[in-house]
Each structure stands twice: as structure tokens, then as C-alpha cells.
Symmetry: C2
Subunit: 556 residues, 2 copies
């Protein structure tokens, strides 16, 4: 660190004084047990799945909306920037680490009440600490006929956290941000507001009709630093009369193009009502096992030639896809017919699975192995979490993939931050056309291999017209030099893809500079930010379109 001038030292001291004063008032408001300044707690939240340098001076754990408001008022009074996380499971995008240095973390996980639930109108109203697991268990315990939509990240993910980041899942309600209605938001000033009809006294349609009257403001509070969402209604899906999943494989890389062309009409016509998820061979392998250290004699990356051998041996394709069919028995039967017809010649294998077949397969796996030599249990173990996700059952199976370059996955709870898992996600959106998807896959494969990483890619048909291409850079943070190598790879990948018009639907804390611009959108967001957060207290830099081209991680 450079030699500090006297003036700089004085500023630092002044900041510390302000921080101390703020901490005193936060402690008064929340109680000492909910204001953490100890080294271990701070180190934990300062750790992501890639290299960061931001320090977190304290962690606040408000237990109510009123306490969140008070946190903001104190932050404003003493000009201390704060950064809210719901559950903080934003792995691959920065976990709990704030975008800027010296920012106090507001951890909302204590606010974990399910505030309202309506079986008939199929919605639930939750606080930010409510996790996927919690909602799933709530529905199960109440014998509800409703399904939630789960994202594949972890059962401990916050529902609100995922929605405001515009994450996605696997059922017809997979585009999460499209399925919410009515936010309660604490503004940077500490003021409170509600969106949609909820703002009107006694309004009955608050949880059922999203747009309300007048300007619709939910969008302002997703991927932004304009407010803290403290309550949200999420729509749930009635369990269909019948559910069936389909699984397919393509043997050759190039087939992705015609596959997308074949699937688009099905998605567009509503024959496929949910997201379809297609993973490449690297992604599938990372879901099954650790990096094949033995087969590669400890060398990295896993080269395509060996990958091809492995996937032939393990019997999966260059691309493996899955999707769910929801409806009456007859509707599902119709959909199956249409899928068979559309995929004929475009895939090498197509299988359907429902609850009965899954149960049957589990029961007779041993016998089946005896007769055929093929261990069905492995396939079932692999299929079950994916199958479950399509029915809205949260799973941490995909999270295990973050341990790919590790020698083993811990037996207990998974915590990629703690365990030094390296993970950088980049998620460009491509129009749903074969050549676009093939282009993104091709660029990503080439660049990741060039930098010594396995190109682990999944393509999700997230809406009728768009494909979310999730590219994972997966490594071991404990290996020297890998943090730098991975970030260099990420930067190159992002540049090459945006140069060709493929922009990410979601940004990591290290890439908020993507928002920058001198265009009208950037100007308007800045104007709004300045108007409602004049001291720049709330989550500085987060999805904030800076006018300069500097990285938003500049020291505060």
C-alpha cells in the first residue's frame, strides 16, 4: 500500500469515527447479538467463489421491516454504505461480497416468515429470508395442491433473492421475475413503499394482479440498488393432473443447432410450457463426479478427446436435455406425440419418465442390472434431482458441481465460499435460433479450453424466444494462480460474447461495469438513483450504470 498522506489518514480516521457512531446506533436498534464485527464472521462474508478484495466492516441482521428502515436511516445519518443480501447464496456472481469496499452487510435471513398463503388463488407472500426449502416444506406440510418453482442452485436460496436477481427455474413458472406481484420495498432513505394495487388501502387484488394502476415499479427493484425488497408475493402453480418428464441426448456437438430449431416451435406453440434445459457433456460429467484426476494423470484441462471417450463409456451425449410436460393425461399424451415428431432425427435418444416409471425403475434396478449389466441406479440417481426440479423440488445436486476441480465433495453441507471452490458464471442470452446458440457454445468452448478450464455449458430455453446460456468457469481457488487465470478467462469470454451481441442477463459483482454507458437508460437510472439515494448509501455500484468506464469495484 502506498504511503498515506496526512490528509488521507485524517479522512480514514473520520470514516472510522462515523462507522463507530453508526455501529452504536445500529446496536441500539438491533441488539448486540445482531451486529457482528468479529473477524470470523467478516472473513466469511468477504469470501466469494472468486478473488475479491472488498472488506466488510460489519454485518447487520435486522429482524423486521422496521429494523431495516432504521438501518437505512442510521446509514444515511453517518454516510456509511450498506449492501443487502437475502440469503447471500449468489454463488458464481459474488456470494455475499459487496460490490464496493468498506460496505456494511445487511443480512436479511432472519426475516423468514411466510406472511400469507392462498391455496385457491395460488400465491404465497414471503419475507427475504424465506428459502426454497422452507417454502417446499411449508407446502408439503399443509398438503397443498400447489407446486413452487425452484432454481437449481440450493435449497437454502432465498426466494426473494433469486427473484430480484431474475433467476430461473424449470417449471412453467420458470421465469421467476414474471411470476411475482406486489413488492414491499424499503427505500434508501428508510422510507417504505408498496407496488401495484397493494399501495391502495384495503385493495383486494394486490397479490393477484401485478400492474396495479399508474406506473409499474417492480422492475426498478430487480437487479438494482434502488431499494430493499422486504416482502413479495410469488405465484404458485397448481399441480397438474399428470406430470411427465422427457430426456434426450445428441451424440454430436453440432446437433445443438438443429435441436434448438426443432424445440422452438414446441415452446412457441405452448406444447412445451416450461423451460427446457440442455447441458453439454462437461456440465453433465461435473454433475456426476469430480474431475477425472486419474484418467488425466492430474493434468488439466480435460480435453475434448478424453471427454468424448468418457461420455461414450458413461453413456451420455454431447448434449443432454430435459423438460417437463404438465396437464391432463390427454394433454401430456398429445405433447409427447408432438415432441416425438419434432425431435425425430434431431436427437439420438428420447425417453419419457413419470412417477410410476421412476418408482418401478428404482424397485427393479438390481434385477435390471443382473439381467443387462447396466446399473440403472446411477441413471436414476442422476435423473432424480432434475426430475424433481421440474416438479419444483429444490435440490443441491447442481451445487455439488462447484466442487468439480476439488478432490472430493464434503459429506455435510455444501459451502463453495468456505471450501475454496472457484466458480464464475456468465449467462448471456441468445435469441432462440440454432445458429446463435451454436455460436455462443462454440466461443465459450474455445475460450475456456484455451485458458485451461472445462467448458461447462447449459442452454435453457427460458422463454418462448430466448435461450439463457449459462457458462461456468469452475476451478480450485486453493491452486496458485488459478484465481487470476479464471478472471482473465472470464473477462475475455465476456468481451468476445458482447462484441458479437450476446449480453448477460445477470452480472457478477466483478462485472457491474457492463452497465456503464452514456446512453439515455444509464442517464435515467443515475438520475433516479441520485434523487432517491443522494448519498449513494445503498449498495453502491450494484447494477449501477456508471458514466466512467472504470471498474465499479473502485474503493469507496
Amino acid at each position: 500500500m502506498e504511503v498515506r498522506t496526512l490528509a488521507a489518514a485524517r479522512i480514514a480516521e473520520e470514516i472510522n469515527t462515523r462507522l463507530d457512531q453508526a455501529l452504536e446506533q445500529w446496536t441500539k436498534a438491533l441488539g448486540a447479538e445482531h451486529v457482528m464485527v468479529d473477524g470470523a464472521s467478516r472473513a466469511a462474508v468477504e469470501t466469494a467463489t472468486f478473488a475479491t478484495t472488498q472488506m466488510v466492516p460489519a454485518i447487520l441482521r435486522p429482524g423486521s421491516r422496521e429494523q431495516v428502515q432504521e438501518c437505512m436511516r442510521v446509514a444515511n445519518r453517518f454516510r456509511i454504505p450498506v449492501y443487502p443480501v437475502s440469503s447471500g447464496k449468489n454463488w458464481g456472481y459474488g456470494s455475499r461480497v459487496p460490490v464496493t469496499d468498506a460496505t456494511v452487510l445487511i443480512d436479511l435471513s432472519r426475516m423468514n416468515r411466510i406472511l400469507d398463503f392462498n391455496e385457491k388463488l395460488a400465491y404465497v407472500t414471503v419475507e427475504p429470508g424465506v428459502t426454497q426449502r422452507q417454502l417446499f416444506e411449508f407446502l408439503h406440510a399443509g398438503h397443498s395442491g400447489l407446486w413452487m418453482d425452484a432454481t437449481g442452485s440450493s435449497p437454502e436460496c432465498s426466494l426473494i433473492g433469486n427473484v430480484v436477481e431474475r433467476g430461473f427455474g424449470h417449471t412453467p413458472y420458470g421465469d421467476h421475475f414474471a411470476q411475482v406481484c406486489g413488492f414491499e420495498v424499503v427505500l434508501p432513505s428508510g422510507g417504505l413503499m408498496e407496488t401495484g394495487f397493494c399501495r391502495f388501502p384495503g385493495a383486494l387484488a394486490g397479490p393477484v394482479y401485478r400492474w396495479g394502476a399508474g406506473p409499474t415499479l417492480e422492475g426498478l427493484f430487480s437487479q438494482s440498488n434502488l431499494g430493499i425488497v422486504t416482502r413479495m408475493t410469488i405465484w404458485l402453480m397448481p399441480a397438474p393432473e399428470h406430470f411427465e418428464a422427457f430426456f434426450f441426448q445428441c451424440n454430436r456437438q453440432e446437433q445443438i443447432s438443429s435441436l434448438i430449431e426443432a424445440l422452438r416451435p414446441l415452446r412457441m406453440q405452448g406444447i412445451l410450457r416450461s423451460t427446457v434445459h440442455i447441458a453439454n457433456d462437461y456440465k453433465v460429467l461435473a454433475g456426476i463426479q469430480q474431475y477425472p484426476w486419474q484418467e488425466t494423470s492430474g493434468e488439466t484441462p480435460l480435453l475434448p478427446e478424453l471427454m468424448t471417450q468418457l461420455r461414450t463409456r458413461l453413456k451420455f451425449g454431447a448434449w443432454s436435455g430435459s423438460g417437463g410436460l404438465y396437464g391432463t393425461r390427454g394433454q401430456v399424451r398429445e405433447a409427447k406425440k408432438a415432441i416425438r415428431k419434432a425431435l425425430k432425427g434431431n436427437v439420438n435418444r428420447l425417453q419419457f419418465l413419470d412417477d410410476t416409471r421412476l418408482l418401478f425403475a428404482s424397485r427393479f434396478a438390481k434385477l435390471y442390472q443382473f439381467l443387462t449389466g447396466w446399473d440403472l441406479r446411477k441413471t436414476i440417481d442422476l435423473a432424480r434431482p432434475v426430475y424433481g426440479l421440474m416438479k419444483g423440488v429444490p435440490t443441491d445436486q447442481p451445487l455439488a458441481g462447484a466442487y468439480w476441480r476439488k478432490k472430493s465433495v464434503p459429506a455435510g453441507d455444501l459451502d463453495p465460499d468456505r471450501d475454496g471452490c472457484g466458480l464464475l458464471w456468465h449467462a448471456p442470452i441468445a435469441p432462440m435460433e440454432g445458429h446463435h446458440v451454436a455460436m455462443v457454445a462454440g466461443i465459450a468452448t474455445q475460450i475456456l479450453l484455451e485458458y485451461g478450464f472445462e467448458p461447462s455449458i447449459s442452454m435453457t430455453l427460458i422463454t418462448e424466444r430466448a435461450v439463457a446460456c449459462v457458462i461456468s468457469i469452475c476451478y480450485d481457488r486453493r491452486e496458485p494462480g488459478q484465481d487470476e487465470q479464471a478472471m482473465a478467462c472470464y473477462d475475455r469470454l465476456r468481451r468476445e460474447l458482447t462484441d458479437r451481441g450476446y449480453y448477460s442477463y445477470r452480472l457478477g459483482i466483478q462485472s457491474m461495469s457492463e452497465m456503464r454507458g452514456t446512453d439515455g437508460y444509464a442517464g435515467l437510472v443515475r438520475t433516479i438513483k441520485d434523487a432517491i439515494d443522494p448519498h449513494g448509501i445503498l449498495a453502491p455500484g450494484r447494477y449501477q450504470p456508471a458514466s466512467a468506464s472504470s471498474r465499479a469495484t473502485a474503493k469507496a
Copy 2:
């Protein structure tokens, strides 16, 4: 008018001077032929389907985005408030009349280009002047396999105008605001911005993925006075393999409750993928004919007893409903089965209709009449526009209903403003539960009859969880006292419904005070408005949450 003080006179003179200066510059920018100040043009735009007092000093007709920007810059320079309309067909909600007095109209109808069209990805990008008819003819001329969604108002309606007002249609794409992607907006300052991915240079997913990266801002520009939408991408629906409509009737008023309960699960489960439209007897009659002057001996209102006789004679129900089924032949067959089962016992009549049957019926109507005495052509004529709407075919049949209390409908083009049709629409949203819908219908029926109007009501299952209850107060503006009586009725209706929690999804220029409030939402919208439109130049009062409780129509 009161005697003006000298000071007031001076202010008025100053305003006139500013207006003159502005007009000079607008004329320079647009050309004299696109700046109208003549009495006839002004009188036309000062006329709505109910009483208004606002004067419009001039009409500007910009022909391009750049001209719209220039209009705003001049407006700011001389502090002249302006009010944009796309096609101005906002009948029942204020037509082209600005919310405040002395506001210059910006008529965007000259900007009527279809800028982009993609058959594969099913979208079209349009300017504000593009009408429903224009898009329909464009698709037809290009032999497109795509359907648009049409609102029932008029073929001459602007697509953008309807979307930003969050209007709705009758296909699976019926919730219009949910089907758009990427706005280009002229801000009050004259600056330009784009939403979603469109803001990024060379971005490919602009027209296909709505949320973009960072805060999502489309909502700011719907039902607002924060910007002028000059370009918009609208998603289109691929024509299904098979389409079939269903029509049903209930004989008794009270059946609406169990009917809604029966339909909700179908809508929620995706068996019904589109809006379902249910009209009461008054609404249906107004669609068939003028007010029955003869049967009532010229008395108004048409009382329920006579209404019951009429509907028995004309063979329609207390409630008549319709909906569309879209999919493969097998899917439609499945849906029909489910509908038959669900509606059994809840309706008195259920019929399905597809292209083949419609053609057949048209051909053999005469023979059928000869054999049965029943004039099928009348039924067909009545069904055809509704049937068409479900296939995205615009129609002006519902508009004819605005002439209900007139003695006849003009043979040429319909213009309710010009023809002195009285029409006030109120459209509260109810949660999709029988008792809510019955409650709204009951209150509306009682109040309208009390004030001497026919309770013409339609209930649209606009989403899976919400019903838009459109109540029309229909009268003859040429009848003395009726303007006042209708407005009194409207005010009472609105008050009684909001008191019970049913708020309107859309507001007329006379009811913008509904937005008022001292809550956080109102405060935030005001803060944004002040920040981006410091002189309050753009559409003052429109969906603007005033803090005072005064009517927003106060003189500017």
C-alpha cells in the same frame, strides 16, 4: 368567469406570448401543415365521450422520433405543457382530451411505420401510429403464420397506445403489457432512451428477452407521464394447428359466482390459455341493437324485468361467455373435454365452434331457418366478431355499443366523440373468486339502475388469478343533464367499489385523483417526475399521484 385582476391578465398574456413563441419553433421543426391551431381541429380533440372543459391551444403532428424530441425541447424552453396520444382512441377514458387545461396535444399517428418483423421469433416492432388494422393487414399480406392479439375497441386503435394503457385482448397474448419487449422512449427533456438489452450496442436479444440487465424500466412508461414511447416490440403468437371457440350461457344472474369458481381451475391449470370474456344481458343486447325505444315507450332505463323478457325472446342468457382453445387437434379435444366437465351444471348452454362449422352454418343458414324457423344468420353475425377477436382479428362491432342510447348507428365510420355518444368506463379488478365477481356485478347493477343507466357489464378472466370487470355507463350526450348524471353515477360507482377494495386497472382523465396519496409509492413517483420533468411539461396530471386530494383536472 370572474373579473380578472391586472396581475392575472398579465400572466395570461405572458403565457400567450410563450405559446406564440413555441408555436413558431414547432412550426419550424414540423412544417406548418403539422401544427394545427384551427377551431375545428381543436374542437375535435377537446371532445371526449363525457363532459370535459379542457381547452387545447394547438395540435402537433411530429413525423419522427427526432421531431418528437424537438417538440419536447421547445415545450421545455417555453414551459408549455404537452400531452401525447398515439391514435387517441381512448374512448370511455377521455379520448384525446388532456388531463389539464391549456395543454398542447402531440398526435403521434403520423409515425406509423412497421420497423421490424421476425416470423421465426414471432415479433414485430412498431411506431405509435401503427394501428390494429395495419398490423392485421400486414400479417395477412405477408401470408404470415402469426396472429396478433386485438383489443375489442376499434381496428383504428394504436397498438402502442393500448399497450401503454395496459389494455387487453382475447388470445393467449391477451395481457398486452406482458407481451412487449424493448421500448424506445423520448423523455420529458427531449432525451432518448431504450429499455432492456436494446440499450447495449449491437445487442441481439433486444426484441426477445424483456428484462435486459439492471433495473427493468418498461413499467415506468406505462400508465404514466414520464416519457413518450416512440417504438415498441410486440410479441406475436404462432397460429395454432387448431383453433376452436366455446360459447356458453347462464340463465340466472346468480350463476356468475359458481361459473367463476368453475372456470378458475381451468385458467389456472393452463387448460384455458386465453382470456375468457363473460358479458351480462345488457352488454349483449347493446352489442345486438340500439336501446329498445319502442318496447320501453321511450322510457329509460331499461328495467331488469323487461331485460329478462327481451333476453328470453332473443335467446341469450343473463350471462353469455366465450373463450378460445388453441393447440394441436388433440390438445383442443382434451381441453373441450375438461371444459364440458367443469361447466356441467354451471351453465345452461355450451357450444363449440370452429372454422368448418362456422362456414357450414353460414352456408346453410337459410335452409336451417326454413326448417326450424330460427334465423341462424343473426347468431352468426353476432358470433363472428367475437370469434374473430379470439383469433386476433380486429373488429369495430363492440364500438357500435357506444351508440346504444342513440336512435341509430351511422353507416360510415364510427366516431363516438363526434357523434355525442356518452360513454364512461370503469374497470375494477377482482380476485378470481365467485363472490368477488358477484359482488362487483351486484354493486354496479344497483348503482347504474339507480342513476337511470343500464348496467352493461363484462367480466374478463384477464390472467390466471384476476378478473377485469368492465362497467360501461352509456348515454346520449345530446340529452340535457345526462353528462352530469353520468358523471355523478361514475363517481358514486368508483367510490362504492374502492371502499370495498376493488380498484380500477385503468383510469379516465377525470379520475386521475385516484392515484393521489401520501404513501411511499406516490412519493417515489413524484420524486422521479420532479427529477426528469422539473417543469412538469409532459402530460401533467396523467396517472400522477398528487399529494393533495384535489381533482387533477384543476386549471393549469
